[in-house]
């Protein structure tokens, strides 16, 4: 029996964000909140290993009360226990403060019910920082394996796991002691259709609520704005660009458009030198 923990985040669906053409600012209203896609694959992987080895999955998230929906989705995918860590005192937490909040929660869960492996999606699509998983691993003093693409083996008896991770030049097989912290790529597991028993369980299940004081007393100097060394000095929309010169196949015909295109493109100073070499 193994105990796996997945830390997830509810995020705005950044692929659906629209920009107000008048003000140039992001329209948050109506943007659906989703379970961070990388985290969904992490939960799917945990569920696969639970099926293989038997055991249970705990899912935690830090966020506003609405983030409970993300936990509910994880329960549908096969998680057994969901914990929402939510408190106004956490508002404004940057990655350092967030890793503190999550690591302390994981530590407490681990003390009561030892965990074998901890999963984080490789990054959240709203911030794309990829910093919280590594931060939590360091705080917990556990080995960290980022960009995991496959779990080849979890051997609880001998206390090790074999993890495949992706780097720029290839793939590494890492042997790690347990418990370990993984940050995972989408290829770690396919997201399956929910199994009926999991669905039924999820309907009745209500995630637990943890605050900044109960059951853990967080150090207020390490959470929220107080605990966040970074702050946003300013923010705005990306620079707008002038639309390009365009030519249309419909208007000028294919042969003419392509000839025109190549004339312009190949005479550009940057491209011309390349073209000289190619010829």
């Amino acid at each position: 029996m193994i105990h796996l923990l997945v830390s997830v985040k509810q995020v705005p669906d950044t692929t659906n964000i629209r920009i107000d053409p008048e003000t140039g600012s992001m329209i948050r209203k109506g943007v659906p909140a989703i379970l961070n896609p990388y985290d969904a694959h992490a939960v799917a992987s945990a569920a696969e290993w639970k099926r293989k080895l038997g055991g249970k999955i705990t899912v935690i998230t830090m966020g506003p009360p609405a983030a409970e929906e993300a936990l509910q989705e994880c329960i549908e995918m096969g998680a057994d226990r969901g914990i929402l860590i939510s408190d106004r005192a956490f508002a404004g937490s940057d990655t350092l403060a967030t890793s503190y909040v999550l690591a302390e929660a994981i530590r407490k869960i681990h003390e009561e019910d030892p965990i074998d492996m901890i999963f984080f999606g490789k990054q959240a699509i709203d911030g794309d920082t990829a910093q919280v998983g590594p931060g939590a691993a360091i705080r917990l003093g556990m080995p960290l394996i980022t960009y995991a693409v496959d779990i080849q083996e979890i051997n609880k008896e001998e206390g090790f796991a074999l993890i495949e991770r992706k780097t720029e030049s290839g793939r590494e097989i890492i042997k790690t002691t347990l418990p370990a912290v993984l940050t995972t790529e989408k290829s770690i597991a396919e997201i399956p259709y929910a199994a009926l028993p999991d669905l039924i369980y999820s309907l009745k299940y209500k995630p637990e609520n943890w605050s900044a004081e109960e059951p853990l007393m967080y150090d207020i100097n390490q959470i929220g704005l107080n605990g966040s060394p970074t702050m946003v000095a300013k923010s705005g929309s990306p620079e707008a660009h002038e639309p390009a010169e365009t030519i249309s196949v419909e208007e000028e015909g294919i042969a003419g458009v392509v000839e025109n295109t190549l004339n312009k493109m190949l005479s550009n100073i940057s491209v011309a030198s390349l073209w000289e070499e190619l010829k």
Binding site: T14, I17, I19, T95, L96, Q123, I125, D126, G127, D128, T129, A130, Q131, G133, P134, I138, P143, I145, T146, Y147, L162, K166, T167, E168, S169, G170, R171, E172, I173, I174, K175, E185, P229, T230, M231, V232, A233, K234, S235, S237, P238, H241, E242, P243, A244, E245, S248, V249, E250, I254, A255, V258, E259, T261, M265, L266, V271, S273, L274, K279
Partner: protein
């Protein structure tokens, strides 16, 4: 007091990653931006390289030639291959010893793995994937701070982040966001060997095997010509046509996130905020609508040709030239005419 501006000199098997020289260039710019403060206080500021590896003395000289005044090296057989824990511990050791003001690390797979762990250990702020870095005033704080600008929410928002009470101010920058400074082969600098020992407990997670990746040869970031395809291809087979055009131009194949998410092509080809940042001489975007997260990664290209059947596609906003038409008509015709032009020259 010496104000230290650090750059992590990433290396793999004795090869310096180009992002290290790019960051040395940035660090020198940062130092020049505080020249007025240095004049007032009489302090000095230096750009220093941090080199962790095994038998990598030659790289220290290379770092000096790209703009490091001093290089600190940590050498141990255990550093032959990157592992999070010993590298993290080595950097913590150096940070505590020298207390740098700024620490820049490449936002590569290795750099992101390392930077998050280091920043948490020394309890400081870290800004990921910066697209602009400068030293500038913030509120009433006496010294200029590192103003780290980065896209967020898939590129829809550009935010400038500061870390005002903690040192070092850390940032990661993706390869090719900045250009490398020229190499000065006559540059002289100091190399300082640090005494740091790797202990067995740092190797709780260890490498057992390394498999070279067939897609590792893509090297999008440093390509001079990239031809990218997106959802407009309609199906994964469309990349064959993209490849044909890329071959004709001596380029490599890129893609949008949508095509990668659809499973049409490997992630190694993805250009954009969550893929690779590129700045080729020629970038051709075919069937890519131009989501902001894609544009963030390719708008630094010298010449951008966009081919899209939708005249309102946002990709045309960053293009140098736009062709409104069906890519399955335009690209074969381009390949044919390119061949004809090459033939005519022989």
């Amino acid at each position: 007091m010496t104000r230290r501006f650090w750059v992590f000199i990433e290396q793999n098997k004795g090869q310096m990653h180009p992002v290290a020289s790019e960051l040395l260039g940035v660090a020198n710019c940062l130092v020049s931006e505080i020249a007025d403060e240095l004049e007032k206080t009489g302090e000095e500021a230096v750009v220093e390289g941090i080199l962790v590896g095994h038998q990598v003395e030659d790289l220290a000289q290379e770092a000096i030639q790209f703009g490091a005044e001093r290089v600190y090296t940590v050498d141990d057989p255990a550093f032959e291959h990157y592992l999070n824990r010993p590298y993290t511990d080595a950097l913590i050791y150096l940070i505590e010893k020298y207390k740098p003001e700024v620490f820049l690390i490449g936002a590569t797979t290795l750099g992101r793995d390392l930077a998050g762990a280091v920043a948490t250990s020394v309890k400081t702020g870290l800004t990921a994937d910066c697209t602009k870095l400068e030293m500038g005033p913030f509120r009433k704080i006496e010294k200029k701070l590192l103003l780290a600008t980065r896209p967020a929410f898939g590129g829809n928002v550009i935010a400038t982040i500061v870390c005002k009470d903690h040192l070092p101010q850390m940032a990661t920058v993706r390869p090719r966001v900045f250009e490398s400074p020229p190499r000065d082969l006559k540059a002289k600098g100091k190399v300082i060997q640090e005494d740091f020992k790797v202990t067995p407990e740092m190797l709780a997670a260890n490498l057992v095997e390394f498999i070279t990746d067939e897609n590792a040869g893509v090297n999008l970031e440093y390509a001079t010509v990239i031809v990218s395809g997106g959802k407009g291809l309609g199906n994964p087979d469309g990349f064959k046509l993209i490849k044909e055009l890329a071959d004709e131009l001596g380029g490599v194949v890129g893609s949008s996130r949508a095509a990668v998410d659809g499973g049409w092509i490997d992630y190694a080809h993805q250009v954009g905020q969550t893929g690779k940042h590129v700045r080729p001489k020629l970038y051709i975007a075919a069937g890519i609508s131009g989501a902001i997260q894609h544009k963030v990664g390719m708008q630094d290209s010298d010449y951008i040709l966009a081919i899209n059947s939708d005249p309102k596609a946002p990709i045309f906003e960053v293009a140098t030239l736009g062709v409104v038409g069906d890519l399955y008509e335009v690209i074969p015709e381009m390949i044919q005419q390119l061949r004809a032009r090459k033939g005519a020259q022989v």
